[in-house]
């Protein structure tokens, strides 16, 4: 996905640093809106409609595929309204903070042997750390809107994300122990070259051994994304959209893009950590062709995970805030700790 590295791989041309940086920025700036559009169209509009015996959008473009684009254009035309008593600077900055945290996750997601923006040694740690930045933006939005519903929504989001950061990190620990590294690229390689009891036919995608971790990760992601059954911060029937209630136009669009961009990013993280990422267990992982096939393979896996995430969203009612905290602290955290212990024991034995 990062054209610069792919290009240098393909053409064997040395690309100067500043050019790489610009190309990387351009690619990321393209990828996030595209990811948000794809997820929004495929799942929010089409799959959800089919589940609810509707057609969804049908007019804009073939099968309504340009509907979100039209909606985006519509948002850009809307008046940019600041509430009278709003804290203007904070109000204006909040959507950007949320979007930036989404941008930062994409930096470490590997899509091929060379196709990664930045290969960090602490990749997964970094990704989870920056993803929780979004709560700052949400709190800012909730506070600065000068609206009671927004304030309740912001506070709920804060409480929820604190409760769910822990299971999210602990769920990943199992993978990290098994792979022996925090580097996402090496996690992918470890899965592709791994063996199941000495049989290397399909590598060793960690969903087979870390299914508990995968389950906890998905639940925590659901809460992190504020999607049903954990959508209390935006609960439309209670607090009417929560922290988003005062936002209009492109600022609202930023929140929307942030939400779906993050959903895509987390689905990609899950695909990388549990489903083998961009790699296939056959063939030479260092081959340059993986830089082109890799993103496609990853996209397929991301869509599979996203389907799961959105399926929850369309099916379940909403929990109450205290029930969510109970679930997090009394069930998910002990379970993930147990998962770590078991993984550790197996790691030592095997």
């Amino acid at each position: 996905m990062t054209a610069a590295t792919v290009m240098s791989g393909l053409l064997a041309v040395e690309v100067p640093y500043w050019a790489t940086a610009i190309i990387k920025m351009g690619v990321i700036a393209l990828v996030i809106p595209t990811a948000a559009l794809v997820l929004g169209y495929v799942f929010l509009m089409k799959i959800m409609s089919f589940m609810q015996s509707r057609l969804g959008p049908m007019e804009a473009g073939p099968y309504g595929s340009l509907q979100l684009l039209a909606d985006g254009l519509k948002f850009l035309q809307k008046e940019d309204i600041f509430p009278e008593k709003a804290d203007r600077t904070v109000f204006a900055l909040a959507p950007l903070v949320v979007l930036v945290s989404t941008f930062l996750i994409y930096v470490v997601i590997p899509t091929g042997p060379d196709a990664v923006v930045a290969q960090l040694d602490v990749g997964i740690f970094y990704a989870l750390a920056v993803s929780s930045l979004s709560v700052v933006g949400i709190l800012m939005a909730g506070w600065a809107s000068a609206n009671k519903y927004a304030l309740i929504g912001g506070l709920r989001a804060a409480g929820q994300l604190i409760a769910y950061e822990l299971p999210l990190v602990l769920a990943v620990m199992g993978v990290v122990i098994q792979a022996g590294t925090l580097d996402l690229q090496k996690i992918v390689t470890a899965q592709a070259t791994g063996e199941i009891f000495g049989w290397g036919g399909i590598g060793n995608p960690y969903i087979l051994t870390q299914f508990v971790g995968f389950f906890i990760f998905l639940v925590a992601v659901q809460a992190e994304l504020t999607q049903p059954p954990f959508d209390m911060p935006v609960a439309e029937s209670e607090i009417v959209g929560g922290y988003q209630v005062e936002y209009t136009g492109f600022r609202f669009l930023f929140f929307f893009m942030g939400e779906f961009g993050t959903a895509f990013a987390f689905a990609a993280l899950a695909a990388v950590m549990f489903l083998g990422g961009w790699a296939l267990p056959w063939g030479d992982l260092e081959h340059w062709a993986f830089n082109i096939v890799g993103p496609v393979i990853l996209l397929v896996k991301v869509m599979a995970v996203a389907a799961l995430i959105f399926w929850f969203r369309f099916t379940y009612p909403r929990l109450r805030e205290d029930q969510l905290q109970r679930l997090a602290w009394k069930f998910l955290i002990p379970l993930s700790l147990l998962n770590i212990v078991v993984t550790g024991v197996f790691k030592v034995i095997l």
């Binding site: 609810q52 609960a235 029937s237 209670e238 009417v240 369309f314 009612p317």
Partner: protein, 405 residues
């Protein structure tokens, strides 16, 4: 305040003892410190206006809730944002015209609104509809119940955050609305009931179609038993929330499924005095002992299924004969007073008509179910969390038109 004496001494009111002024000052200082501390520690309550424009209030109910954090200290429903003055408007309309008006009270089960009014008028005129008319009336009455409650079953789920059930409810309600439309010509506002009978006979092939529609509604009920009632999250959100003890419920005048969910076995279709044909059918009144939001949903779901069986029986036993009794062309209702109440989808609905022997009623008092059902909210909402407000409001199931009239 303790009175301060002249010579710098104070008199304690209780014991009449002399207290040193220094002591008094120390006391005042402590009080002040406490007050400061209270200001710092005690958080100020927040008044939250839920409505009149809020997705959970089905229209324009306004709920003023004083919150402490996410907990409700007190909540008061404020109604009247949609008051249309139907009682007054009915006074300047002839009896047949009134049904057009009162269709709009509970707009989801509109035919059911007409029935008690017509029954009250028939009582005054001492007319009785012929058997076939009464059976058709009862069929449509039950169909509008199904159309109404089907939507509740989806709506409460969407209030609790599940998106899909409400679309399924809208989809399957259409089967019933189609049947109502086929007879009356109106999907929502049939205006079909007449003093002394009904407007028209059933169209050809309608009975078979309706039976198929009832089959679909039964499937819908089974599906919802799985999808909503069987969902753990739905149960944890609704069980034990908004418990109405039978005595309190009766004291507030709750009726319909709301009171049956508290274990009170009371249904006007069976226990009322009105001339509908329920006594000739084999059916069951559903009750639930719990009295919480879950019970209210459960009872309504069972009632929907029971209503489909009622419709089947009614269609099987439909007698032949005329559909109108002999009534004069220009209806003048003799002087007198009459009250008729039926078990409407939302609960007991009744009309008290005072006639002076004129073309128009002298006074009509409408007893609508939602008005009484919503009056329990201040009692019910004390101490619950904000999300539970929504659960309770959704499970009490009110229609704004039925509250404000």
């Amino acid at each position: 305040m303790t009175p301060v004496g002249e010579a710098g001494r104070v008199t304690d009111r209780k014991g009449g003892q002399q207290v040193d002024q220094r002591q008094q000052l120390a006391y005042v200082a402590t009080q002040a410190a406490d007050a400061r501390l209270n200001v710092e520690i005690e958080t100020e309550g927040m008044t939250l206006n839920i409505g009149p424009q809020h997705p959970a209030t089905h229209g324009t109910l306004r709920l003023v809730a004083r919150l402490d954090g996410e907990q409700v200290v007190e909540a008061e429903p404020i109604m009247g944002y949609m008051h249309r003055g139907y009682e007054k408007l009915a006074e300047v309309r002839t009896y047949p015209q009134v049904t057009t008006l009162i269709n709009r009270i509970d707009w989801l089960g509109s035919f059911a609104n007409e029935v008690p009014f017509i029954l009250a008028a028939e009582k005054l005129m001492e007319v009785e509809a012929p058997p076939r008319a009464q059976w058709i009336r009862t069929v449509l009455f039950e169909l509008s119940r199904i159309a109404n409650i089907t939507l509740f079953l989806g709506d409460m789920a969407v209030q609790l955050g599940a998106l899909t059930p409400v679309f399924m409810a809208f989809r399957d309600r259409e089967f019933v609305l189609n049947q109502i439309e086929a007879v009356t010509g109106g999907r929502f506002h049939p205006n079909f009931d007449r003093i002394g009978g009904v407007k028209d006979d059933l169209p050809k092939g309608w009975i078979e179609d309706t039976k198929q529609a009832m089959e679909k509604i039964r499937d819908f009920c089974d599906e919802f038993e799985d999808l909503v009632l069987g969902n753990e999250i739905f149960q944890s959100r609704s069980r034990g929330i908004g418990i109405v003890p039978p005595a309190v419920g009766l004291a507030y005048g709750l009726s319909g499924a709301n009171i049956r969910a508290s274990g009170v076995d009371w249904d006007l279709r069976r226990d009322g005095h009105e001339a509908l044909v329920y006594d000739q059918l084999d059916w069951k009144v559903w009750t639930h002992p719990d009295g919480d939001s879950f019970a209210r949903y459960w009872v309504r779901l069972q009632e929907t299924r029971e209503a489909t069986h009622l419709v089947d029986q009614l269609l099987d036993g439909l007698p032949s004969g005329p559909i109108m009794a002999k009534v004069p062309r220009i209806i003048k209702v003799p002087a007198g007073e009459a009250y008729a109440a039926t078990e409407n989808p939302l609960g007991e609905m009744g009309y008290y008509i005072i006639s002076k022997g004129d073309l128009v009623p002298f006074r009509v008092k409408i007893r609508s179910a939602s008005f009484s059902n919503i009056s329990i909210t201040p009692w019910l909402l004390k101490g619950v969390y904000v999300p539970d407000i929504i659960t309770i409001l959704a499970s009490l199931y009110f229609i704004l038109g039925d509250i404000d009239r």
